[in-house]
Symmetry: C2
Subunit: 124 residues, 2 copies
Amino acid sequence: MSQEESTEVCRRRRVHPESIAQVRASEINEDTARGLAELFRILGESTRVRILHALSCAELCVCDLSELLEMSPSAVSHQLRLLRANKLVRFRRSGKNVFYSLDDEHVEGLLRQGTEHVLEERTS
Amino acid sequence: MSQEESTEVCRRRRVHPESIAQVRASEINEDTARGLAELFRILGESTRVRILHALSCAELCVCDLSELLEMSPSAVSHQLRLLRANKLVRFRRSGKNVFYSLDDEHVEGLLRQGTEHVLEERTS
DNA sequence: CTTATATATGAACAGGTGTTCAAACGTTTG
DNA sequence: CAAACGTTTGAACACCTGTTCATATATAAG
């Protein structure tokens, strides 16, 4: 607990050790933080948000989504790939079509809670 | 090539009109979708996730965060600027320090719900 | 005043990302 | 079988974003 810091290679600033200790005590797992950021990164793109919103209304094939979003099937498929890899949507093949739907209820919860924040942000 | 669509500029595919109508009926506001994506985009970066997690434990100044994240004050400040602009954190000046904290409880809720998804994703 | 500390900001650069395009794959139909 | 359809995939390209660096601002101390 010595106060002098001159021998330190990296000079210390006048921080708030109690607060820092408090944070360090409840530090989340490094992997969890990374996974969390990854999840939100996937959600953080308007095309993917629109896809997820659409799928929260109905199970849809790539063509349906392509028409709804007015985008090429290829572009939609690329985004669905990402959503699939992150376990946000599931899919089933039926003949020539592949139908997508939301994977679990967490996704809807995140969208709902996010919407609340956005709307509140507007009014204040 | 002989099908009855040749007059359409944009050729229609065999989609599922009922499902599409169902989605269109509950289509969210364009601005809301954009704001939602923007919110998640801000949350979708590991540095910012770590900052928000730290602030969920204690009110911290830039130096504290800089030490916790082992990053330059400049890098931290740049990210805080983004978080501030999106109403995710608030701040108050006290002498030479500027203390940051979470802006509302929605942020903690989003982090918690996101963590649930990530952990569940691991176990399945 | 000058100096030191804490924070903010703008430019620049490297790395990442979404869309387009062309081509492939899988399934159904003729 | 071949042709058509729905979907996927890889490469290319333009755009965006996080960090670094240098510099500026603000407050406190000498």
